[in-house]
């Protein structure tokens, strides 16, 4: 399906009855060269870059439910590359560069909005930590600016600067950060991959991973066996279940993260802002709702809903930063299941089983990583070797002591 002013006008006159599906709802074939599980943001991006970078189209994306029903539609749409550690920065900066060219690349309006991300700091020590982070970013060629209190106030005059407990002292600004319409990312990648001939199979749940002579032979699904010598798992919260089908245990716990949307209001806040004295972040969608969130609930969960203490904590942080937000009503909130890794960083690597590859451990930073995750995972699936930008995201880094621990929290998934 292609969209243009002409087709929109023509469809408007015909009562919008002539639209065709955006991507093919494919029937699964008996076998493929590569099978990607599942059709979330990362899986669909992987499919697209397999086609674009490597010309591989005998590929299937197997989605348990329907495209866009998982975490790709449950996040808060923020993109940024303000990381500290050398293992992370080149990867997330690749992601940011891919976001910047995404709409031309897949010919789909994903509403990429580089409105700037401000991380507020509230103390001298936090300013020093953010200065260090900003310097690390700039050494890797990523944009970063350290703002003082008055520079923040000029942009965001409505915050509580006189807050006795959490006075705002300044912010680390990444101008190229911002938001992207998350559903459009899924739809755009799905259409682009489907147009190249990749099969996107919906309502096809993987129930087993068949191995022959120590190597992957294919996957058992709710729609029968599908053969493939290369299988890539990009299943976020369900990673441990899929890995268990292949007899593996992973350094992951699944946790629920909640997010919130307020009623729609006129343009109120131009940037993405994070509160530095608690866990709270906010931006405004083009529909007008404030989109915000905070911490994970903190206990293992596969339920896509959370509990009230975290909601209270998020609202308290919001009020401490921005008292006027208390006049708005929360319209809806929801939960998504996060694959929290032991060091807070992802895994894109081979597994001990030949032909089986793993893309997991995104914690609650998966959305911003979507293009680079797909790009690097496609490289791994096509060539069998890690892409240099994701070379640090090894599965064996935990046992080898090469963890990538941005927060210095140690092996505590609920603290990352």
């Amino acid at each position: 399906m292609r969209f243009s002013a002409l087709t929109l006008a023509a469809q408007a006159l015909r009562g919008n009855r002539g639209w065709s599906p955006t991507w093919r709802d494919a029937e699964p074939k008996r076998d493929y060269d590569i099978v990607v599980v599942v059709g979330g943001g990362h899986g669909l991006a992987t499919a697209w870059y397999l086609a674009r970078e490597f010309g591989l189209t005998n590929v299937a994306v197997l989605e348990r439910s329907v495209i866009g029903s998982g975490n790709v539609g449950r996040n808060t749409t923020i993109v940024r590359s303000n990381y500290l550690l050398p293992g992370n920065i080149p990867f997330y900066e690749r992601s940011m560069k891919l976001w910047e060219g995404l709409e031309q690349d897949i010919n789909y309006n994903a509403m990429v909005s580089q409105r700037g991300v401000l991380n507020l700091y509230h103390s001298d020590a936090q300013r020093d930590a953010y200065a260090r982070r900003g310097n690390a970013m700039r050494l890797h060629g990523v944009d970063a600016e350290l703002l003082d209190r008055e520079q923040v106030r000029a942009r965001l005059p409505f915050f509580d600067y006189a807050n006795a407990r959490f006075p705002i002292a300044g912010a680390l600004l990444q101008r190229r950060g911002g938001t992207v319409r998350h559903d459009a990312v899924a739809w755009g990648y799905a259409r682009a991959a489907s147009d190249r001939g990749i099969d996107i199979v919906q309502n096809c749940e993987v129930t087993g991973i068949r191995r022959e002579n120590g190597r992957v032979a294919g996957v058992e699904t709710s729609r029968g066996f599908i053969g493939a010598r290369t299988v890539g798992l990009a299943v976020a919260g369900a990673s441990s279940q899929l890995a268990a089908m292949a007899g593996m245990r992973l350094p992951l716990e699944s946790h629920v993260l909640q997010a919130f949307v307020s009623e729609g209001v006129k343009p109120l806040i131009d940037h993405v802002v994070t509160f530095g004295a608690g866990h709270f972040y906010v931006s405004q969608s083009d529909k007008g709702g404030l989109v915000f969130g905070g911490d994970i609930d903190g206990y293992n969960s596969y339920a896509q809903r959370g509990n009230l203490p975290v909601i209270e904590d998020v609202m308290e942080s919001a009020m401490a930063l921005w008292p006027a937000i208390g006049r708005l009503r929360v319209l809806r909130h929801w939960g998504g299941v996060m694959d929290m890794s032991m060091d807070g960083s992802p895994i894109i690597d081979r597994t001990p089983i030949d032909g089986l590859y793993l893309n997991a451990g995104w914690c609650y930073g998966g959305f911003k990583a979507t293009p680079a995750s797909g790009f690097c995972f496609a490289h791994l699936l096509a060539t069998g070797t890690p892409h240099p930008d994701a070379a640090a995201f090894r599965l064996d880094r935990f046992a080898a002591g090469r963890v990538i621990d941005e927060k210095g929290m140690g092996a505590q998934p609920n603290l990352h």
Binding site: A238, S240, Q241, A244, R249, L250, P251, L252, E253, S254, G298, Y299, N300, S301, Y302, A303, N307, L308, P309, E312, M342, F398, A399, A411, Q412, P413, N414
Partner: protein
């Protein structure tokens, strides 16, 4: 979610802090081989279903509790003092 503390009765989840899966056995420090220690520190079953896990009643009796909770529904099947399973 409300957690039935075996000492205090049913209390709000906000009174508790979470550690993780119960029943992990730390290999004996100096004698442990590195692979066994890495497995203990990093690898988890992470089941979608009943999970025995450790909670600390920080704003109550300050005791450790072993809870058996379904991670898909948050339904709690059992709560007992952690010591009774040690």
């Amino acid at each position: 979610m409300r957690i039935p503390c075996p000492h205090c009765g049913e209390r709000d989840v906000g009174e508790f802090t979470y550690l993780g899966a119960a029943g992990l056995r730390r290999p004996d420090g100096l004698d442990a081989d590195p692979a066994a220690m890495a497995e203990y520190v990093y690898l988890r079953d992470n089941p979608a279903g009943p999970l025995a896990e450790l909670w600390y009643h920080a704003f109550g009796c300050r005791s450790w509790i072993t809870l058996t909770r379904d991670t898909r529904t948050h339904a709690i099947a059992a709560a007992e003092p952690a010591r009774s399973r040690a």
